[in-house]
Symmetry: C2
Subunit: 356 residues, 2 copies
DNA sequence: GTTAGGTTTGCACACGTGTGCAAAGGTTGC
DNA sequence: GCAACCTTTGCACACGTGTGCAAACCTAAC
């Protein structure tokens, strides 16, 4: 208001007050644009609000001024009013693992396409669980939180829900939580794997997992063991190391030197590829001496050096379900939590003997 | 103020005004905490501001109230004042490619560790360039922008710089831009690769790249071709397809059926692995008949099925340089743009004949 | 008891934006 | 020319936070 009466003085006054020098200039505000265009600040705001009432003349002048000054609306201030941002918090660890990377790639792409942005927090260093990360995300007033790694305690999930922020757990445990959960059908997948090995005539069977006691690991391994036992076979079990290629390699060396297996299920493709390389190193011919099945169908499994038979979970289905859950939030309904179990399918390649 | 005189009426009044029902309750504000603790809002703010002046008694009461109500500071509002957030914008595409995934993994992890958050925008669908994405990022008043994909025109970079937002280009072109650029030493790496092949006795040499005309591609291919020509050899060139494993496979089929090569440099490990598989498929023995060198040293290159000899760029060096650039921004200095060229090294594995 | 000095507290403003409301302006029909 | 109506515009408030400033309070020294 004083600004219009004495522009130069106010301008320098403002700079003094904010203690900013010219090299680190602040952002252009709608006030600046309004002044240049000779209109009120409201007119500027309305120009950038679809469906608002502005005359063509004013709109043009404002746009011109905005372009001249390089004006960008401040989403922080905007979100302050609407009390919601277009941000979606994403918690993930080991982003370089093929399956995780692919998941993040698709999710971030689709989020952007639908006008949302992705606030990514890497849970790698989260020794005390991911609760602090979720608390941090909440401070950004996100629209929803997607958890791809770690197991949030139900207390923090409740807090999110109480604040209207949906929590979507991807391939995490599904029991006793109030969150949306989207998992691939681990039980059925493991069962299919077991049956495929049995059908190939395997009788000395093993199962390979990492030492991490994640729900996914446990489900896949458990369902596989159960099914194999039904056939009267007690499988050899490997469960140590991290979720990595090297673990598969170690498992091959460990299991194959102790048992003469002819069929192995690895709960993760990445470990399956390591196991395959390890088995070859030990002179086993795949699939003639030994059949191997993985889970996930990562891109590397299709590579010519491997051609791994595996259980595929559809990545696009998964992404789509996550997005559906996020967008369901917007309608403001309640109590309609998603508990989706996505179907899996067997992908036949070259690491299991064809049924005789 | 009226609130303390007639709490219930004001409360319902407020709800009516905001048109919110109980299912979608708003977040708790510092005002709410202050009321419960029986102090002013300033006291609440100061309690959560390190180094502010609050008595132990008040601090305790506030913390108690905050815990009871589940208060989370609103970072959007906070950033509105300080005119800067702890956000760092990251632009990347093809996040599932091993090299990119690894880069993002390290970057997001380190950012979080230093108290910053990662605003990730996937540039996959950016047909009209990444300028719109950067504009979007600017609206969040980020502290800096890291570009790992696409080539931003200098106009948008200038705008960022004018607003005090550093732009850091990772493995992008370095000429004629006002941004920080951090690239690995492509020229030297390609030269080392060429010399290694020549030293192994290769004389019928090829080079494989994708059809994408990215600066990295061009630099690596160009430097390699130059060095080979110095030795009086004209290399066969493959340059089509995407940046993928399949491209390497196609290249092997195409190049090897036309020329009887004994040494090949692939500008990317991913393509090298495809090429290696393709060469094997065509009956070539590696490294006896044919030597192959890649670039990047992705994790898959160390796998037993490949054991690819390659040029390594240190991921941790790269991440560290990016972070250093981001943090240099905070000091507010000017004109001290980074133009780093990170050293590379040859990693000897099993796809090049040992020097006789 | 008084004063000086330190600590704690609340007021009030600022940050940049969206939007209800009423005033102003413009158009049309009689 | 006037009334009725629609469009456009500006004012003023709201969002939730941080912080300078001065008042209030407490402590200790004289």
């Amino acid at each position: 208001m004083d600004a219009e009466q004495a522009p130069p003085e106010t301008s320098s006054d403002r700079e003094d007050h904010l203690k900013r020098d010219r090299t680190a200039r602040s952002f252009v505000t709608s006030e600046d644009v309004a002044r240049l265009a000779g209109v009120s600040r409201s007119a500027v705001s309305r120009t950038f609000t679809p469906g608002a009432s502005v005359s063509a003349d004013v709109r043009h002048r404002v746009q011109e001024a905005a372009k001249t000054l390089g004006y960008r609306v401040n989403r922080l201030a905007r979100s302050l009013i609407s009390d919601q941002s277009n941000l979606v918090g994403v918690v993930g660890a080991n982003l370089s693992l093929p399956f995780m990377a692919r998941q993040l790639d698709e999710l971030s792409r689709e989020l952007l396409r639908r006008g949302m942005q992705c606030l990514l927090l890497n849970a790698a260093e989260a020794e005390q669980g991911i609760t602090p990360l979720i608390e941090l995300i909440l401070e950004f007033r996100v629209r929803a939180i997607v958890v791809m790694s770690g197991s949030p305690p139900s207390s923090i999930i409740d807090e999110c829900m109480a604040n209207g922020v949906r929590v979507i757990l991807v391939n995490r445990q599904d029991d006793d939580t109030e969150a949306d959960t989207i998992i691939s059908d681990d039980l059925n997948g493991a069962r299919i794997a077991a049956e495929r090995l049995l059908r190939a005539g395997c009788r000395r069977i093993g199962v390979v997992g990492s030492g991490a006691q994640t729900p996914t690991q446990i489900r896949r391994r458990g369902a596989f063991v159960d099914r194999v036992r039904e056939a009267g076979i007690e499988p050899a079990v490997w469960a140590s190391g991290g979720t990595a290629y090297e673990t598969g390699m170690d498992a091959a060396r460990g299991l194959l030197s102790a048992h003469d297996l002819d069929g192995v299920f690895c709960v993760t493709d990445l470990m399956a590829l390591g196991f395959l390389d390890g088995a070859r190193e030990m002179g086993r011919r795949v699939p003639d001496d030994l059949s191997i099945i993985g889970f996930d169908d990562i891109q590397q499994s299709a590579w010519a050096a491997y051609r791994l038979t595996t259980i595929r979970q559809s990545m696009s289905d998964l992404t789509e379900s996550v997005l559906a859950a996020i967008e369901r939030k917007m309608t403001g309904e309640r109590g309609d939590l998603a508990h989706e179990v996505l179907p899996v399918e067997l992908v036949e390649r070259a690491t299991v003997r064809s049924t005789s």
